[in-house]
Symmetry: D2
Subunit: 441 residues, 4 copies
């Protein structure tokens, strides 16, 4: 078995990994580097594949590309853009289907459509808990795990040369608020059956402790919303549009007490996809995205703030998002010390985001608005979560993924702590490398 570490091994972003067995290759994920994408903004869609690779926006897949006829399947693990957004640029050259969970499928299809790309691979669905045959040498299984977007599995490839487990992205949430907790029984069973390669999400393994449960964020949200409602304040919440569990928690915190509006294009897109799969109930939510309808609504709502819970885009301070426009006074929605704005998110640590967020928060605070930040739990497990996973899977080999060299090293260091040996059965790789697991140490 060989692990092609195509993208996401020098950075948090543009994830792409490929597993090769007996000459057959399965690709997992085709993501974009979001910091680069933000720099390019709208222009992204106009870039050719070559330009997008050179810009560093999508993985350089030349190693796999040279062997494109050996690729039997593309698996997209989940819908986050650092795992999906390169599909329009990279997938079409491979003459094979794309596999994904139902929610992920909807996202991938929208991305393809938005890019106006001719991607004819077709997206087949596999549900969590199910297994399907990809080729002579590969079977794909999706095992229940938890993350911050629906329908994220632990991706398992059963091959004629052993099992590969890919955990990007995962957390171990014992009390998720949407869907079940991880299927520890099956995970342990995989370990008992034998795992040859574990490709390990390293995004936050460099932080000690554990990632807190989404249930905890639910408590924080309803605590703050209760406090605001008691004072009859105007309330605006902003969060990641794809975080359907969070949106449900916001609705739960509201508990029917106020009318709810979801405002912004991406909120509309993601929640409508989620509704189609019964992941959210929008029947009592006003969903708005066009500029004029937003403006009309906000003018109206400004006069009856105590009646509304507003959820909108702009958690990263994006200058064109709804929250930034409200903060700058572009709509007739007036905020002051009787309003509370809740950032149910963390700021992605790129300086441009931090500057944007700072500006929005500053505008809000200057008007006396109470600003609540980091009402959030992360989607990636931390050091002790990863240790649990390693102890459950007991893999022969560990390939840290989803981070720069230092982050990969943190997972390697944990593995060493657990008895693994560098270059022998734990492998720090980089973009473009191939880790040959059968090579003698």
């Amino acid at each position: 078995m060989k692990v092609h570490t195509v993208g996401g091994y020098n950075e948090v972003g543009k994830n792409m990994t490929a597993i090769e067995v007996n000459g057959e290759i399965v690709i997992i994920d085709m993501g974009a580097d979001m910091e680069t994408v933000i720099e390019y903004e709208e222009e992204m869609e106009t870039l050719s594949t070559k330009e997008a690779i050179e810009a560093g926006a999508v993985p350089d897949d030349s190693d796999i590309h040279d062997r494109k006829d050996d690729v039997v399947a593309i698996v997209i693990s989940h819908g986050h853009l650092d795992h999906t957004l390169a599909v329009p640029k990279l997938a079409k050259v491979y003459d094979c289907p794309i596999y994904a969970t139902p929610f992920t499928k909807k996202i991938v299809e929208r991305i393809i459509k938005d890019d106006d790309a001719r991607v004819n691979n077709g997206v087949r669905t596999l549900k969590i808990g199910e297994t399907t045959t990809l080729s002579d040498h590969f079977e794909l299984e999706f095992v229940k795990i938890t993350h911050s977007i629906p329908h994220t599995p632990l991706t398992v490839l059963h091959t004629s040369d052993g099992t590969a487990v890919y955990s990007c992205d995962f957390k171990l949430d014992e009390e998720p608020t949407l869907g079940n907790k991880p299927d520890y029984e099956r995970i342990r069973e995989l370990g008992d059956e034998g795992v040859k390669a574990y490709i390990a999400d390293s995004t936050r393994t460099d932080q000690k402790g554990r990632t807190k449960s989404e249930h905890e964020t639910a408590i924080e949200l309803r605590s703050i919303i209760n406090r605001a409602y008691e004072d009859n304040e105007g309330v605006i919440v902003t969060t990641f549009s794809s975080h359907i569990a969070r949106l449900n928690n916001i609705l739960d915190a509201n508990d029917g007490r106020r009318k709810v509006a979801f405002i912004g294009r991406s909120l509309k897109e993601y929640t409508q996809s989620a509704q189609e799969l019964d992941l959210i109930d929008l029947s009592n939510v006003e969903v708005l995205s066009y500029y004029n309808e937003v403006e009309d609504f906000l003018r109206r709502a400004s006069k009856e703030k105590g009646d509304w819970l507003i959820v909108c885009t702009g958690n990263q301070g994006e200058p064109n998002a709804v929250l930034s426009r409200i903060a700058r006074g572009e709509y007739n929605y007036h905020i002051d010390e009787k309003d509370r704005v809740i950032f149910s998110s963390s700021t992605i640590p790129a300086p441009v985001n931090e500057a944007n967020r700072y500006k929005v928060e500053k505008l809000l605070r200057e008007r006396g608005t109470q600003v609540e930040v980091d009402v959030h739990s992360h989607g990636h497990g931390m050091r002790e979560d990863q240790r649990d996973m390693i102890r459950l899977l007991e893999p022969e080999h560990i390939v840290p993924a989803h981070g720069g060299t230092e982050k990969l090293a943190a997972t390697a260091s944990l593995a060493i702590d657990e008895g693994y040996v560098l270059e022998q059965n734990v492998h720090i790789s980089q973009n473009g490398n191939i880790v040959n697991l059968d090579r003698p140490a």
Copy 2:
């Protein structure tokens, strides 16, 4: 009204404040500086009052002492040692009763007994939600608030010169696991009636955001304990002995699945006091403290680890506590990679504690034991909690307390943000000063 800022205005520790109205004085709290106490260890009890003051272990109350006949009451806000441990050294000189909630009363009485001090003031109880008359000019009311030890009220003094509210220590926990959430209605009512002075807990106001709920820690505890039980691991938890809510959460996480032992002198003392007040049910808990019984028990339990949940002292890495002894192998309780040790606490940030904790954790990890740290929520509110409190109380004057100058300044900075003006209606004081609220600015 004058606020005597006797102790806890140059440090986090040795809290003591006095409110003076019309020549009458009420003292709130008589606490010790815990870092100094740790340095002196056992010796503490042998120090005279004068020596304890000079060592910096207890507040220098000379300003009040000179007017001891004017003191009409001592109120002890709650049972933590930085609010109570100076009682044996300081209380006896004042010819007046001590007031406290029932759980606090038990602690104060034990402290007096342990110190072998002749303190004849007598401790009267006042329950949370009740009011009592202290003197001609003072009424005492205890209002429901939340903290990390049972029976901690918001201490309210209704005086002939207006109301003083003392919030050391508090958090705003919307979902406490033992007792009710803060009585916002009454707090807001106090604000509406008019608060002249707000003495504000500043321990963590220098940190942005909010303190998480005890409910969140309960989730974290049961998540980790579930994971350990699934793997049939030995489980040891250590936490603050006075944190009865936490101990209940540990019992809840266990949910009757294993037998439970509480081991260590302070655990025994605090939990027995709590049981007498129906704050915890120890009927299914084996409580141990003598060396021999602990040794016997641990030898036995070592052979049936899967049957036991062990809760013990030592969360700060104290060299003589049970956990440190286990880690050093002093008992016949063998730990290895099939054990999990949970620190349901934070390390109090004194270098000696940090060194002690480091040693214990290192010993545990060297044996392969999975160590879980910071499974904890703090007892003090953070910046946004304090902002809520200020907005509810709308006090005339704010006197930040419970911290060094920089911490007091953080609360002052928040007050300025909320429209207060330094030296006019927000007052950064220091130990030994008197803040005269009636002095023209």
Copy 3:
């Protein structure tokens, strides 16, 4: 004596303090809030005084303004914009002269001219080491001290009610590279004669230790430049245009080995003023600022990089500065791994600056350029420097200045450490307050 703390007591910026004795008032400094100025960019000059105050860009001097006839002098301590840039907005209303050192005078006059303001106060010069009479009750003395712009004195007001010493901005540099070290003898003499009020620069008193000498930066600069010259690399240095000592250190590091160019408008302005006062020798420096001449020069220099040492604007990553344009490839000056870019500066900690700097550095590093950062020593003393100053002056009262409440509190905390008492002889103030030193504690 009263100290009017007009600006710079809630932030690092827009410094303005006034000393009142016997009904006469002397203003020290009229600075701008640079973060706000950066937001407003060019627009700043078009703002009216009222608008500039409301925007928070300049101090709100209404308290002094109401008593404008009592103002006998305006002293500008030094040329940095947070001490000078409000002059065009605020000075004209006061019918009195401005006093400044010669270099500061040039800067103030240029600022007035740039703003197109009708400021007719006139700027009188007082040299360091000299004293002049301002009015019946005030004498002004400038004492030698060190900072990061030439001609910065310790500002001393001898009044009929005692001496006021203003140390914003200062460091204690035992080995400055331009001018002499602080005049400790005179400073100690001031202490011996008696100082009533010490207005204390608190910008960095919250950091422990001492600020390093400019001599150390000189060593770092010549070390890096030596290494680059040995490898025959292209070298670009960017620094603060007003930091004439630094520019001299860059010339010294070059030591005549290469031709030198100074590029950028502000570099030209400051260095020409400095040359007129014999503070720098530009006879062997090519000074360029117009776009066309810069473009021509850079096209030419690009072909003979080994011959040039380029010093240019852009140390904060300002998008329109020369360095940013070079990094974006807007000039025909090609950089790659054979170039070294030296940021002889620190990034002013505003998120927009940090984002700008990040972008420039990223562009440079992507081309393989070796980027050297923080080759810099600060202009403000740290905790031990301030302690030295307090021990030398032994002032009756300390008024921390030049920072938000937390920074002022750090100086207050140091003063307490040295035996001062809050509200008695150390006073944490805020913008708009008046500290009355004669009021009984």
Copy 4:
């Protein structure tokens, strides 16, 4: 060529590396893990080799031990204990000489004597700038580099299979105060001739920027000492006993103005060795180490503080060192606010050291003594220094050393930045591994 990464690849400490070519092996360094040594204290000398290995105090050399007849030489790069202290435990089994520079030789011989070990290898000296033949396949060259102890070379092994360069420990000090700056010409020449393996000091490559010059510390020392002398204060300096350049800088800062005493056993040992090699002139220094003579001296000096500059042991707060005893008042040397204590060192980041240092500083500050800390420059280069080295050597392979996995990864990340590829020509290893440079990638 194979690189045996024996010790110092999982931690900062117990450094040991071996280079194998054509069946011959040369060992470089035999160091101890200082944190473990501190734990064991005096006991260390009583441990057998096996016990010392099991305790983690010295490297586990079993891999090399099995081939002990192939070892042709042991090279000790410099005198620091993490490179030398394992010699008494490990060297004797190898039937070959030890090579070291003259100062290092003296240290190694003293360590052997102190341990009472029978090490009969014999220590041969090689001066910096010289080359010697070790065996058929190995030549050893010591090239001028800079570090914080005298006679530290860049260790170069010219072998029949190419050149190996070992840089543990190094900084690039352009202006060292004792000895010359690095021999860049020779280093570049090595690069031009071809370097097969570069074993790279990674202790501080995880920090951006450059390590400051010892010349800068000299400036800081004389600045503080000048300030103290001007005030006629008592002055105590503590630093690393082996840091002869620093001790010289202290003498230079004194400049004959006061009498000087060096107090403490390790200070005596190191400085006497240094004097024998003309690295320091002790003719005007009183050197004291026995308890009685120290006590007598300090009693006397306490009465004439203005006449003395005292340099003593205790920079890490070691409880038994001279400074700690002074702070605790064990000698008749009284300190107060007229004293200044200078820590010309950094605290080695082990919690026990930090707690010790904290205690000493607290005792000193409580008496009003002005405490100056971190008057120090580190001995290890930072990221840009390492980048310079890589660009000079242009090695075929890089093996990061001297740190845990995360630190090694930081150097690897830098190497990737410079065009290297993981597992191909940059190798993150761990203790006990062998990096085979000739194995196909």
